[in-house]
Symmetry: C2
């Protein structure tokens, strides 16, 4: 089956978590909005009232007759069909729970530069962004990253992965989180990384996987920039602790 991924064509954004899973799995897919005329197709679909009904927002995935929205749910689906999710029901629920916690983290990362709302430019909310980023770097980033470090440490399988014995969609997403935070907050991450040995080892391991390594060195990998979730504004990379 050929999947169709629908996401904004010029940014990594939330779609990147899905791209990483598709690429790692070697899945056959079209990144629709990056094809000629594809953006029109996506916008038409988003506004349509067909059945199955299109999701509230990108990313979404067409898998046969299904149209699946919400990043975590897409990853749960791809995980189950491509050996990137635990086999047991309880393992699968735990993986999805971790993926949803990553989604919460992503909202907070995004909101460091857009606390007043995505409808305003960053330049219109620089003061608020500085305040929110300081709080984020002092309180939230250590809490989230420390918790994921513990998740890996406390995994009963002691595999170095977040869940079970094998790499899952959760590990691929944690790779992207580390990459993105290193891009956006290099000072804060340099300070924090010595406390995250397991998360960083996992990041290395994911980067070496054949599908991921090939993808990262291909033109399909869009570089980080100041239009996505992870943005490098040096004035926001300031913290107390």
């Amino acid at each position: 089956m050929r999947y169709e991924l629908y996401y904004w064509p010029r940014i990594q954004g939330r779609g990147e978590f899905v791209r990483l899973a598709l690429e790692d799995a070697g899945a056959d897919y079209t990144d629709v909005a990056r094809e000629p005329g594809g953006m029109d197709v996506m916008m038409e679909l988003l506004c349509s009232r067909t059945s199955p009904k299109p999701p509230f927002a990108p990313p979404f995935l067409r898998a046969g007759r299904q149209l699946i929205g919400q990043t975590a749910l897409i990853l749960d689906y791809l995980g189950r069909h491509h050996g990137l999710a635990p086999d047991s029901e309880s393992g699968r629920i735990w993986a999805l729970q971790l993926q949803l916690t990553i989604a919460d983290f992503v909202v907070e990362i995004h909101d460091t530069h857009h606390p007043v709302g995505a409808g305003f430019y960053y330049e219109e909310q620089r003061a608020e962004a500085a305040k929110r980023s300081r709080y984020f770097l002092d309180q939230r980033l250590p809490k989230f990253l420390g918790w994921f470090e513990q998740v890996i440490e406390d995994n009963p399988a002691a595999s170095g992965c977040a869940v079970g014995r094998r790499v899952t969609h959760v590990d691929l997403s944690l790779f992207q989180i580390v990459e993105g935070l290193r891009y956006a907050f290099p000072r804060a991450m340099t300070r924090r990384e010595p406390q995250l040995p397991r998360l960083l080892a996992l990041r290395e391991r994911v980067a070496r996987r054949p599908g991921i390594a090939a993808y990262l060195s291909s033109p399909r990998r869009i570089p980080f920039d100041e239009a996505g979730i992870f943005r490098r504004y040096p004035e926001l990379d300031r913290f107390e602790a």
Copy 2:
């Protein structure tokens, strides 16, 4: 099986979406942190490194040997075990997708009064909150509510519910969304409601369900106040359109 719900004892918050499902289902449950000494039990569990590992944050549910975090995932679980989810796999995924879209909406509702971060009091971010609320009421509230109105309208089963022929956890959560928004933004909702006939009819229908009606008139239902997600700050209930 007796469930254990873990959530902050004095607010509705995200836990309320779970309480509504448990009450509608007539499930046997303890709201642990509302029992004497229960708050200590919850905090100890949150900081513990037992297996299964506790979630990142409340609410979470103990169901036998499972510990499930993330509101949407708890509702998917309860839905499947208490006739509050569609029977088909694709229906269940759609319901979970809708529930995750509600979760996204809840983040935006919360952030109207806390745009700079949950670590600061509202009084410390009133100016930013006014800016964000205006944007929320003009752009985001109509977009989310209009989309859910369409979901009900486009449901192929034409049942008046969001998914399939029967009431699901999604409908219970949409009830709470309407209740909360009416509390927090009465002016904006009065203006918007004529365009939401299906959503309001669904709200009435849910309110009349025996489990819900009994719960709402019981002391177990915590009133809305200015400590939860939906807060009434009249200065934020201002909009253009």
